[in-house]
Symmetry: C2
Subunit: 114 residues, 2 copies
């Protein structure tokens, strides 16, 4: 498993406020929240960027969204609304090279998305 | 199939600048682009919002990202970077109630994402 900060969180080498875990997926609160609800949902499989998603990863990537919608409901933002974001590479500001889905909710979001 | 504008695009009742199509997925340029590259990638299956994604839809949702990464490469933003966004409900500004993935690239994106 890659030596990113998220790999360390998966291996419990550094702490995180974990809100969901199963065999394939981990979710925890972003340490620099950009909204009242800001959760990162990651595959345990090391996929550095969206460019690295392979055909066989499709069910796993879809599962990130199953987890996202469940967390949105659990945290009470499913009806009010939420924004889901994946950043790929430098122009988008990808900060950690372990694929992660941002779930942001609890406030209104403007357009464009950054 | 639902009577959204995207349903009409799928059925070719209204025009769109289509850049990808297969049995399950359609992709076309956003008519109000927020970046030099701004493509919408949608499942042909009518899924109104992210809240409506079912367990059995996981492979289909993942496939949207397989298509996204291919289009990012085709349009020359895979290395520079791109942002992928799904808006759910009012706070996020969801404008059409047929699930759609925004692929935005060709410029730098700020944080937070709206």
């Amino acid at each position: 498993m890659g030596d990113t900060i998220f790999g360390k969180i998966i291996r419990r080498e550094i702490p995180a406020d974990i809100v969901y875990e199963d065999e394939e997926v981990l979710a925890f609160k972003d340490i620099a929240p950009q909204a009242p609800i800001h959760i990162l949902i990651i595959p345990k499989k090391e996929i550095p960027t969206a460019n690295d998603i392979q055909e066989e990863d499709a069910p796993l990537i879809g599962k990130l969204f199953i987890v996202a919608k469940k967390l949105a409901k659990e945290f009470g933002v499913d009806e009010s609304g939420y924004r889901l974001v994946i950043n790929c590479n430098k122009d988008a500001g990808q900060a950690v090279y372990h694929l992660h889905l941002h779930l942001l909710g609890g406030r209104k979001f403007t357009w464009p998305p950054g």
